[in-house]
Amino acid sequence: MSVGLCAYAITREHVLAPLSPVGIRLITHRGLGLVVAEVELAPFAALGADPARWTAEPAEDDPLVVLARRHDVVVRAVFEHQPVLPLRFGTILRDEQAAVRLLANHHGEASTWLGRVDGHREWGVRARAAAPGKPAATPTDGLSGTEYLAMRRNRLTAAARTRRDAFTAAEALHEELTRHATECVPRKRKTATPLLDAAYLVPVNAEPAFHDETTRHDELAVEVTGPWPPYSFVRLELSAEEVAHA
């Protein structure tokens, strides 16, 4: 066979938004939907043809990157409107029956997981020591009294912070970020060794406070990526096979 059903994510059953990516549809089962599209298998199979070329840094026109970007675009398009449980890239099912079996086999845990991430977005935070000579933080003019007090609710004074070294600052940043996050996972990057490298699952209404924390440590150069769909917080293994139910 030359085509398959590429599966991108599990979501709640709903009517897809009018401007969804072309070819995307939902296969539904008892209130859940699997986001799928018919795809040619050849581009996916071709990814394995020449692993040796993947020693260079990835570029936008690499075949893997092109397919991975499409995967992300599809997941994000649904994520705009509903919580999503992203599937791993390159998950291609045989047919609609397999899709329904996937949803049926994991209906409970998928529903629970979607309820947990509903209203959240993933953010990546990396922190390194700031370059030497970085000027101290300027006073935050223009804040109301309430806003000022909110920023100062941390028990350490700004003066104490400037005396800390970057390592301690990174620990403090992580602690602060986790107060605004429902969940956090470290990201295992082995090339560079940042002081902090983690993904955070943040309620949308906590995002201003979360991002505020990332700007408050002069000892650190902080890089934030996102928002992402909750890729890093899925720990489910799924099966699309026939499973005998008790």
């Binding site: 199979a45 020693t55 840094e57 990835p58 992300d72 599937l87 291609i92 890729y231 293994e237 799924l238």
Partner: protein, 56 residues
């Protein structure tokens, strides 16, 4: 604070993207035609695991 942080197509951005899309997400076993896994993008050392069920 911007509403969204634009993911720029830099090499750093691509590693962030690929690490999430290829390394994360739910793994599906069983009646799957192709499954791509085990891609270690940290070392940019690509190992593809092709699980083929039926004709590809």
């Amino acid at each position: 604070m911007p509403d969204e942080y634009t993911i720029t197509p830099s090499a750093e951005g691509l590693v962030d993207l690929l690490d999430r899309v290829v390394h994360r997400g739910a793994v599906v076993n069983g009646d799957v035609i192709i499954s791509l896994a085990g891609i270690d993008l940290i070392r940019l050392d690509l190992r593809l695991l092709l699980v083929s069920i039926g004709a590809v």
